[in-house]
């Protein structure tokens, strides 16, 4: 109960902080509209009839990608890097609560604040492509929401683990840039993964990336997805990352010099 009170205070304050700059909030949502551009490209390509997806299915897939990207966007590595370099982490370390809850609260608050802008973008897509509007049903929506939450947690765990490299090299975000290439290519953000050559699909299956966009997107557009299997894979990756992060955190803190503080 006490812990929930702490989380609620962090979340409420983070929401107040996020909503201080309204224009910035909308601009951040728009900056994640790459799926709308890809939607146009793949809509045209699908009109040739040689793809497994119809043009409208392609639009729906990228609408799902848009929602998933917006709801699972993670920036903890940049926030953490700045905290370490500027010594702001010191204040977080001296509070009787793990700093991760502070970062998580910031992410959740931003998500809540961004949601109306995301809905507006979804309706814009439906308006741009008449006949593309769809509703997968409440059960699927519930499953997809849970999967997207899992996706966010996995993505956060991956990035937060990379962020601990800041204790050894202050520019850990360059690692995230590298990892983002793999994420972009293997997650289904550029195109549905089942359009990729089989060898790429096999390689992707060994990574957590297909579960971060492709799996929840297929679920949202009404395709069959092994939801339990997806949770198991993401859970295993997340658990592995948490163990690694905790180990790196303990080691890294010994090197922390509280610069600038």
């Amino acid at each position: 109960m006490i812990f929930l009170r702490k989380l609620a205070a962090l979340l409420v304050t983070a929401f107040a902080h996020t909503t201080t700059y309204r224009a910035e909030m909308v601009l951040w949502a728009l900056s994640g509209s790459m799926p709308i551009i890809l939607m146009g490209v793949w809509f045209q390509a699908a009109q040739g009839g040689r793809l497994e997806y119809s043009p409208l299915e392609m639009v729906r897939y990228f609408v799902a990608v848009l929602v998933i990207r917006q709801m699972t966007f993670v920036w903890v590595i940049w926030e953490f890097e700045e905290s370490v370099v500027r010594g702001r982490l010191s204040h977080d370390l001296l509070r009787p609560i793990d700093p991760v809850w502070h970062y998580l609260a910031n992410h959740f608050a931003e998500r809540i604040a961004r949601f109306p802008a995301v809905l507006a973008l979804v309706f814009l897509c439906f308006w741009l492509y008449p006949g593309s509007a769809f509703f997968p049903g409440w059960v699927v929506m519930g499953q997809a929401a849970a999967l997207i939450l899992g996706t966010f947690v996995t993505r956060f765990a991956l990035q937060y683990t990379l962020a601990t490299v800041c204790f050894y090299n202050e520019r850990a975000s360059s690692l995230e840039s590298l990892s983002f290439i793999a994420y972009t290519f293997l997650s289904g953000m550029l195109a549905p993964l089942d359009l990729y050559p089989p060898i790429v699909q096999q390689v992707a299956a060994w990574t957590p990336f297909p579960y971060l966009i492709f799996a929840p997107a297929r679920l949202l557009i009404g395709e069959e997805v092994d939801v339990v299997g997806a949770f198991q894979v993401m859970g295993a990756w997340t658990l592995g990352m948490i163990v690694l992060q905790r180990w790196a955190w303990r080691k890294g803190l010994s090197r922390y010099s509280a610069m600038g503080a």
Partner: protein, 349 residues
């Protein structure tokens, strides 16, 4: 309450030469060197003590505070604060300490201070009514209640520091580590913070370790001082004894009854100031008695006063790193007269 034995911290820093050659060398063959920020420091602090931590920039004050608050791990030795090892950062320990850094803020820049206080209240497990009561009480002591609903970025530096202190003390810590809390503040704001700290220490019996470059902070608040120089503790004792140790001189102020040449005055000691008939002379303490006798005999002053040099003028050069203080070698060591079991680091000369 607080004990430090043989505490040391060594940082490894990259060593880079300027220019293109230095950049290329740094790219392909990076060199590092170890810098001993703190070496073999020993001291203890008793509950309720208000201790000043003095030294030039880079002397090791802030590094020591960081180790005591648990932010960084000591390279050697041991620190214990209220029975806790600081670096373990147990929640029970964190709930009893605070670290205020004059050049760093914990308040959220874009929001009113009350939002940050709401987080602190919850994180330190205060009930809503308890948090409200403490905010009101501390806000009144700091005269800051009217500032709490304004965005922090709109506050002046002094107002911000008041709110920072409120946030740092909301959980009513027993041990306060204050690193330059009055840095950059105007005289009024400095005075206000000083007076608050004094009242807080008296009201709650908190133990305080304070670093400051403003001598007024030290003289107003601290009866005991620790002096660090190049990472080593070189003095631990009463502030008044420090002045005595730093300068073996006394100042004689006299009022002349007839004109006297500067050259004649210089035969008595160093002429610190002269304004008409008023003269200030600096005289070696060992020669004080005979110098006074000579002055009465040869100059026949209408008035004569003897006092110690102002602490500011004595310690100022030390804080600027211009002067090294050496530990006392005499039986009247720096801790003489102190009731606590503190001891100077005599192995550091």
């Amino acid at each position: 309450m607080l004990s430090v034995s043989d505490l040391g911290k060594t940082y490894r820093v990259a060593d880079k030469q300027p220019g293109l050659k230095g950049s290329l060398q740094h790219l392909f063959r990076r060199r590092y060197r170890d810098i001993a920020a703190v070496t073999g420091v020993n001291f203890t602090v008793e509950p309720g003590e208000f201790v000043g931590f003095l030294g030039a920039n880079g002397a090791g004050k802030t590094t020591t505070l960081k180790m005591l608050s648990g932010l960084i791990r000591p390279s050697s030795g041991r620190a214990m604060v209220m029975g806790y090892e600081p670096f373990a950062r147990e929640h029970a320990f964190l709930k009893q300490i605070t670290l205020v850094m004059g050049q760093k803020q914990q308040l959220i820049w874009d929001l009113p201070a009350l939002d940050s206080l709401r987080i602190n209240g919850a994180v330190y497990e205060l009930s809503a009514s308890e948090a409200r009561q403490r905010i009101g009480e501390l806000g009144e002591m700091l005269d800051a209640n009217h500032l709490l609903t304004q965005p922090v970025r709109k506050l002046s530096l002094g107002e911000r520091m008041k709110c920072e202190l409120l946030a740092a003390l909301l959980h009513r810590p027993s041990v306060l580590f204050l690193d330059e809390p009055t840095l950059g503040l105007d005289i009024n704001a400095q005075e206000s913070i000083r007076s608050f700290l004094k009242r807080y220490n008296q009201r709650y019996g908190a133990t305080v370790l304070l670093t400051s470059h403003y001598m007024a902070d030290i003289t107003a608040l601290c009866s005991r001082v620790l002096v660090v120089h190049e990472g080593r503790l070189v003095y631990d004792g009463a502030l008044s004894s420090l002045a005595e140790r730093l300068t073996p001189n006394r100042v004689i102020e006299l009022r002349l009854t007839e004109p006297v040449a500067d050259e004649t005055l210089r035969s008595f000691g160093h002429v610190l100031a002269r304004d008409g008939a008023s003269v200030s002379l600096v005289v070696d303490r060992a020669l004080l008695r005979q110098t006074i006798a000579r002055i009465f005999e040869e100059l026949k002053p209408s008035d004569l006063n003897v006092h110690e040099p102002a602490i500011e003028t004595v310690i100022g050069p030390l804080l600027r790193g211009e002067r090294l203080v050496r530990p006392a070698q005499s039986a009247e060591g720096p801790s003489a007269g102190a009731s606590s079991p503190r001891r100077p680091d005599t192995g550091t000369s």
